[in-house]
């Protein structure tokens, strides 16, 4: 379990106990209600990666999927940090580890049925996990099971000698209620894995691989009525869902509609005009809507502005001269005007200025500020000093990359161009297509080096709100591959050592401290320029009930929402 009792500043500025007003849905339930009925209208400015539980990786999707699927564990449907705590869902209780932490056993609740009335067994869960291992068919989902389960060469139930597709040795189902996971290496936080959508049961009979996403068989309170890929889908009540088997869900609305690929500004407008209830992507409104909301007290009262476990930062590429010199990297750290960075992300409402990688919302996070400056506007003198030490007293020229379809990253690049320009560091701005940013451009070390990408604007959100979930992927240099990286730049053995230490630390508190150490080491090596910890500005339409921000996903808890209208 990840949840610790450390400080959570979600309520900052929202401590007002009154039922309405800004941030009324942070840390508590706004407009609590048990009234059932109505239609919850949601929309998405983009498209889902997949509705298939074995093939999805977006946070909002994991939040939303709980409406139609039940994984072994789940983030509790509760406001604030309680929402980041794992609670058994399909399982009767948390996983029972073996002594060596390599075997985890779960008992499945009795009485849970698929939407066609068939009872759910542990074999369906095993099948679901097994098929999610097939990355040929399901490329989108996470690969934790592939990495941790003792696969012994198993690749896919579709290539299985067992006609039932249950030939995977790493999962055992001694009976219909029991499921046992066997790992290659010990892992204490396996419950997080058990909370992934991949553990949602999939009936083999209904599984047709890539087409399953068009007609996912539900175990949750809602089932699919209509799916139009890329356009919309509708959920209606699943009559085979039994409240008695499910302590976690209220299932208030009768129906949930989802529109895909809606123009983002339009979407905000429709939220504010009451034509729509939820923007499912959960990263907050667009700048235009933000400006509107902040200017209008009425709108502002109906908004929430929570901190999230997402960091916007810029990689400093040590492979590119002269940034291979730590002093030059430090010059960048000093020279950068972080207020400009913050403005690019929408000012105070868009995020808090970050001075290190680990967001404060992560349990145990500490403030580390190695490159302080007045008002965070950058310290020109210090930067020049560092440049001199680096042997580049007049500055140097390098490129800064960003994701083309992200205006905020563009604004960041422009802002850094200005503030680094003050000390003679000249930046040329290079946008690259968002979709291939990690695979073909910034995330491909060869490319970054040969294209002289000294700075690479990026952002990171944790799979889970803890040190491991946040830092491991972006700081461990041993993970760096030929392409498709998430760690673009941090290559420091000291950081790696710190990670190893944190990974093997058994004590929760000490582990948190150890991750803070990773954060500090990473900042010392100056491979990353932290920008802002994201704050989404969420608009909360009037007729929503039971609204609250969950720290599990840093957005509204979709499981709890109801409508009053």
């Amino acid at each position: 379990g990840g949840g610790g009792g450390s400080s959570n500043n979600n309520n900052k500025g929202g401590g007002n106990p009154s039922a309405t007003g800004p941030n009324a849905a942070i840390g508590k339930v706004f407009n609590p209600s048990d009234k059932k009925g109505g239609t919850l209208r949601m929309a998405n400015a983009g498209d889902w990666d997949s509705l298939d539980p074995g093939d999805t990786y977006y946070a909002y999707s994991w939040n939303f999927i709980r409406l139609y699927g039940r994984s072994l564990m789940m983030f509790a449907s509760a406001p604030g940090q309680d929402g980041a705590k794992l609670t058994p869902d399909l399982a009767e209780s948390k996983g029972v580890p073996s002594e060596d932490l390599k075997t985890w056993t779960y008992k499945i609740r009795k009485g849970v049925k698929f939407d066609d009335g068939t009872p759910v067994t542990s074999k369906d869960v095993k099948y679901g996990v097994s098929r999610s291992l097939d990355k040929d068919t399901f490329p989108n989902g996470p690969t934790y099971f592939n990495e941790f389960l003792d696969l012994q060469g198993y690749t896919s139930p579709y290539k299985d000698s067992d006609p039932n597709g249950l030939g995977l040795k790493a999962i055992e189902t001694p009976d219909d209620q029991t499921i046992v996971f066997k790992l290659k290496k010990p892992f204490a936080d396996f419950d997080y894995f058990a909370g992934m959508p991949a553990t949602m049961p999939v009936p083999k009979a209904k599984d047709d691989g890539t087409k399953y996403k068009e007609h996912v068989v539900s175990t949750g309170p809602y089932k699919f009525e209509k799916v139009e890929l890329g356009k919309s889908f509708t959920l209606v009540r699943n009559t085979n869902w039994d409240q008695a088997t499910d302590p976690n869900r209220k299932a208030l609305p009768d129906k949930i509609t989802m529109q895909l690929n809606v123009n983002a500004d339009d979407l905000d407008n429709r939220l504010m005009s009451g034509d729509l209830d939820v923007d499912v992507v959960g990263s907050g409104v667009q700048p235009a809507a933000q400006a509107k909301i902040l200017a209008d007290p009425n709108l502002k009262n109906a908004s929430d502005n929570p901190l999230s476990a997402r960091l916007w930062y810029t990689n400093i590429n040590g492979e590119v001269a002269p940034l291979d010199n730590i002093e030059c990297r430090k010059a960048v750290e000093y020279a950068a005007d972080r207020t400009g960075y913050q403005r690019a992300y929408g000012g105070n409402a868009g995020g808090e200025i970050a001075s290190s990688l680990l967001p404060p919302i992560i349990p145990g996070a500490e403030k580390i500020d190695l490159y302080p400056s007045k008002d965070s506007a950058g310290d020109v003198d210090k930067a020049k000093e560092a440049l001199t030490k680096c042997g580049q007293p007049n500055g140097f020229e390098t490129n800064i990359s960003y994701r083309a379809e992200r205006p905020k990253e563009k604004a960041t690049a422009e802002s850094l161009q200005q503030s680094l320009g003050r000390v003679g560091i000249k930046l040329n701005i290079k946008p690259y297509p968002t979709g291939d940013y990690a695979k073909l451009y910034a995330g491909k070390p060869d490319f970054a080096k040969s294209n002289n990408l000294g700075l690479m604007v990026f952002g990171w959100a944790a799979d889970w709100p803890n040190g491991f979930g946040f830092l491991k992927e972006i700081t461990d240099s041993r993970n760096i591959k030929a392409a498709g990286n998430t760690n673009f730049s941090i290559k420091d053995p000291k950081v790696n050592d710190a990670i190893d230490k944190a990974m093997t630390e058994k004590d929760e508190n000490a582990r948190q401290k150890a991750w803070v150490d990773v954060d500090r080491k990473a900042m010392e090596s100056a491979y990353a320029l932290p920008g802002v910890v994201a704050k989404g500005l969420y608009y909360r339409p009037k007729n929503l009930t039971n609204v609250f921000i969950t720290d599990g996903f840093s957005e509204y808890d979709y499981l709890a929402l109801g409508v009053s209208g």
């Binding site: 929309a43 498209d47 997949s50 990786y57 098929r131 097939d134 990355k135 040929d136 068919t137 399901f138 490329p139 989108n140 989902g141 996470p142 690969t143 896919s156 139930p157 579709y158 597709g165 599984d207 047709d208 691989g209 890539t210 087409k211 996403k213 139009e228 890929l229 890329g230 356009k231 529109q259 690929n261 809606v262 123009n263 500004d265 339009d266 979407l267 407008n269 429709r270 005009s273 034509d275 379809e405 297509p433 968002t434 979709g435 291939d436 990690a438 695979k439 073909l440 491909k444 591959k481 030929a482 392409a483 498709g484 998430t486």
Partner: protein, 337 residues
């Protein structure tokens, strides 16, 4: 005439081949030339965290390692005889015309296209009707009142239409008429005509008008110019000499001649629009071919790009053919052998 149509159709097929080949090359060859490896291209089709081996396998599975012509051949053969794709547990047959199978969204492209076509056709045809009415009538009036305040004003307004990009006028119209005055429904609320004709029209009225506003100017100007020219023709003098009243002269004799040039550009415009009104669809969140195409391009989803390109090209070719045939209807002097 029949032979002519057949010949044109054969020509059209050849044209489509060329179009598809060039599209194929642009989206396939150009990145290769620009330095992307087969693995780079395949890496788009695997998950975020795939390792090199997975990528290599994917490249093989997608056939990226085959010579380009083999790949193109596969694409073409799929159109005629269909193709089989693995969905995991089974393989599905994508029946002809199978315009490819997207490995990113894991579904065949053709049904998508058919689905999107409805939206685009609704948008294009509706707008076309409006701009034709608007453009031609303005043009005629302007021509008849050449040099008057009306003429200047009408042409000025018409030019305003072409002078502003549609992503701009689109948003403006939404702000004013939808969010401001509440007269029109907001963007992204498209429903099929069959489901609810009223809602369908409601969702489309703003895009129709905006798109029509953009295009009407061209038609108004063309009509005006042709009309001015036509009204100098001898046959107009003859019509007057017969004692016809001015209205009949203008409408029956003058306007009739305007049809030919109008049809020419109309065919082209409509053909292009039917291939996807990219900006309009994106401004109004309409799930049409244009939006689909943009999405496909942004995601580098080659089969979708190819599919949508071919559909667009087909529309243009059909439109051109229809235009040429219409000439013969409108102008009895035109004969095709």
């Amino acid at each position: 005439m029949f032979a002519y149509i057949i010949r044109r159709l054969i020509g059209a097929v050849i044209l489509l081949f060329v179009v598809s080949l060039v599209t194929f090359s642009i989206f396939f060859l150009v990145p290769r030339i620009a330095g992307a490896s087969v693995e780079d291209m395949a890496s788009r089709y695997v998950g975020k965290t795939a390792d090199a081996e997975t990528i290599r396998q994917m490249a093989e599975k997608l056939g990226f390692t085959d010579p380009l012509l083999t790949q193109y051949g596969r694409f073409i053969s799929a159109i005629f005889v269909g193709a089989d794709y693995s969905t995991g547990p089974t393989t599905v047959h994508c029946p002809a015309p199978c315009l490819g199978y997207s490995f990113i969204t894991q579904n065949p492209v053709w049904p998508d296209l058919v689905d999107r076509m409805g939206v685009t056709i609704s948008l294009a045809v509706g707008a076309a009707v409006i701009w034709l009415l608007l453009g031609i009538s303005t043009g005629v009036l302007s021509a008849l009142r050449r040099g008057t305040v009306f003429d200047r004003a009408a042409m000025g307004v018409a030019l305003a239409g072409v002078s502003l990009p549609i992503f701009f006028t689109g948003l403006l119209s939404l702000t004013i008429f939808s969010y401001g005055l509440g007269w029109a429904v907001p963007g992204g609320t498209y429903v099929n005509f069959a489901d609810d004709p009223l809602a369908w029209a409601g969702a489309l009225i703003l895009p129709w008008v905006t798109l029509a506003f953009l295009n009407a100017a061209g038609y108004a100007r063309l009509t005006r110019a042709t009309m001015l020219e036509t009204m100098n023709e001898d046959f107009i003098r003859t019509a007057r000499a017969k004692g016809l009243n001015e209205r009949t002269v203008v409408v029956k004799h003058g306007l009739r001649s305007v049809l030919t040039p109008i049809i020419t550009i109309f065919g082209l415009d409509l053909g292009i629009l039917l291939g996807g009104a990219v900006l309009t669809e994106s401004a109004y969140s309409l799930p049409g071919l244009g939006a689909y195409a943009i999405n496909a391009i942004v995601n580098n989803d080659l089969p979708k790009v190819l599919g949508v390109t071919l559909v667009g090209a087909t529309f243009i070719i059909i439109a051109n053919l229809v235009v040429d045939l219409l000439y013969a209807v409108v102008d009895p002097r035109v004969k095709y052998s």
